[in-house]
Structures are given as structure tokens and as C-alpha cells.
């Protein structure tokens, strides 16, 4: 069964680029939702959890790091939701920290369709 996806990024252009890259990667999703920051994503996830969230880090209102912590601590309905960070930040300490806080993976910008395929395929089964 195809998975559901949410893309969280404050840039509308980047959300479109991610969608395009997903199409190019050949990955198939039953639905793709969007949110422009962590707070908006949380509100949408409360209504309808998704299987996978692709999330930027630096966003207004609520950062991706704050969102991960909140989802893992306060939202049992998202216990099975995989959260993959997508960011220009690449410092190993930050990557290790966000994984420790509950993210399931990290994709660095700039990215390729092949990178999306590599990082998301383990969660598509």
C-alpha cells in the first residue's frame, strides 16, 4: 500500500522542488501534503497522521528540530510516522542530535532524486 507524505518547508518553491524530485525518483505516494512550518505541520498531523514527513530545519514559528521533539514527546498518534530532515545543515553533531531526538533520517540540500530514493526506500515497504 502506497505511503502518505507531508513536506514541511517555509519555502513554497522548495516544497515544489522536493515534490518534483520525488517524482523523478520514482517513489510513489498515495498523498502528498504540505506545511510551511513546524507548528502548521503539528496541527495537520493531529488531524491526520502521515507515514513519512520530510522536514526542513530552519523555519519560522517552529523549527524542524522543535517539531521532531514535540511529535515524539506529545503525539502518540504519530508513533509510526517516519521523520526525515531535509536541510542545508550537515554538521555531524546536529545530525546525531536530531536522530537522537527522534528523526529517522537526514537528507542534505542540495539533493538528487537518487538520494531521495536511497533515504526513503527503507520506509516505503
Amino acid at each position: 500500500m502506497a505511503k502518505s507524505l507531508m513536506i514541511v518547508d517555509d519555502s513554497a518553491t522548495m516544497r515544489k522542488i522536493i515534490m518534483r524530485t520525488i517524482r523523478m525518483s520514482g517513489l510513489d505516494f498515495s498523498s502528498i501534503g504540505e506545511a510551511s512550518n513546524g507548528a502548521e505541520a503539528i496541527n495537520k498531523l493531529k488531524e491526520a497522521p502521515v507515514d513519512i514527513v520530510l522536514c526542513d530545519i530552519n523555519m519560522p514559528e517552529m523549527t524542524g528540530l522543535e517539531m521532531v521533539k514535540k511529535v515524539r514527546a506529545e503525539m502518540p498518534n504519530c508513533a509510526n510516522t517516519k521523520i526525515i530532515m531535509v536541510s542545508t545543515e550537515s554538521a555531524q553533531e546536529l545530525v546525531d542530535g536530531v536522530i537522537k531526538d527522534g528523526a529517522n533520517g537526514f537528507i542534505t540540500k542540495p539533493f538528487t532524486p537518487e538520494k531521495f530514493q536511497e533515504k526513503l526506500t527503507p520506509f516505503m515497504g
Binding site: M14, I17, T112
Partner: protein
């Protein structure tokens, strides 16, 4: 101590990585020092701080930025695209090049904190960090048609 020549190489490598991966446009360093972006331009900037502080500035003509945005979004070359989307795309390009630079200089100077990018438009756009700032400028040929100017301005933090 930062090596100016090495930083210019880092700037070029960062730009190439982003252009090849996300924009699908070939770029090359422009060897004509008098060639600059013309007409009304967009200027994307992003600041950074820690052991060094400063900003990365990217400047190009609006048609050049439009071509970049259209390529990033996979649109037809003649497609309509809003100025807002063009600015958003240039901001993301600025952000990603800065991220690439940051990861390449991490071993030399440690982590630096980076701001959210901003984009402005105008005809006479210049960037400055004061007379005591270092400035590295790189001009790129975009598809042998347009010129993009990248400038890295910085000061070493004495603390």
C-alpha cells in the same frame, strides 16, 4: 587564518555543486572582469557568524534568476512564473551554496551559524561589510549568456 585562494575555490565548488545537482545548468568562472549582471537585478544574501562573521551575496539579472527558477521547478522555458517564486528560488540557491561552503570550511574554522536568506531587487545593488572586511568575488558564466556575481564578505572574529 583563512586562505583567500582556497575560499574562492570553495565558493566555486559550492556553486557548481548546487547548479549541477538542483538547477541542471553548467556554469564556469567568467574570466572577463568587466562583465557584470545588467539591468534590474536580484540580490540574494545570507549572513553567518561565529569564528568568522559576514555574508554571502549572489547577484544576477532578473531574466537569469527566472531561468534558474524555471529549471529548478522543471517548468517549460516559456512558462509564466511570479517574481515571488523567482525570489524564493534565488533565496534557496543562496541558502544551498552557503550550506555547501559551510560544510567545506567546517574543518578549518569550526561551525558557523547561518541566517535565513533574503532577496532584494534593484538596479544599483552593492554589498559591503566595511573597509576592514575581506571580500572574495566570483563571476560565473551561466549558460554562456548571463553573468552571476557571488561575493563572500567576512571578518575574522577576534574573540
Amino acid at each position: 587564518m583563512l586562505d583567500t585562494i582556497a575560499l574562492k575555490d570553495v565558493l566555486l565548488a559550492g556553486a557548481k555543486e548546487v547548479f549541477e545537482t538542483m538547477i541542471f545548468i553548467d556554469i564556469a568562472e567568467c574570466c572577463e572582469p568587466d562583465r557584470k549582471p545588467e539591468g534590474e537585478k536580484l540580490l540574494g544574501s545570507i549572513t553567518f557568524k561565529n569564528s568568522i562573521k559576514g555574508c554571502l551575496v549572489i547577484c544576477c539579472s532578473i531574466p537569469c534568476a527566472k531561468g534558474i527558477a524555471i529549471n529548478m521547478l522543471g517548468m517549460e522555458p516559456t512558462a509564466e512564473i511570479s517574481k515571488e517564486e523567482i525570489c524564493d528560488a534565488l533565496g534557496e540557491v543562496t541558502n544551498m551554496i552557503m550550506g555547501s561552503i559551510k560544510s567545506r570550511i567546517h574543518d578549518s574554522i569550526g561551525d558557523i551559524q547561518v541566517s535565513i536568506p533574503t532577496v532584494v531587487s534593484g538596479r544599483e545593488l552593492e554589498s559591503s561589510l566595511g573597509e576592514d572586511a575581506n571580500k572574495i568575488t566570483l563571476r560565473l558564466n551561466i549558460e554562456d549568456r548571463d553573468i552571476m556575481e557571488l561575493s563572500l564578505l567576512y571578518k575574522q572574529n577576534p574573540e
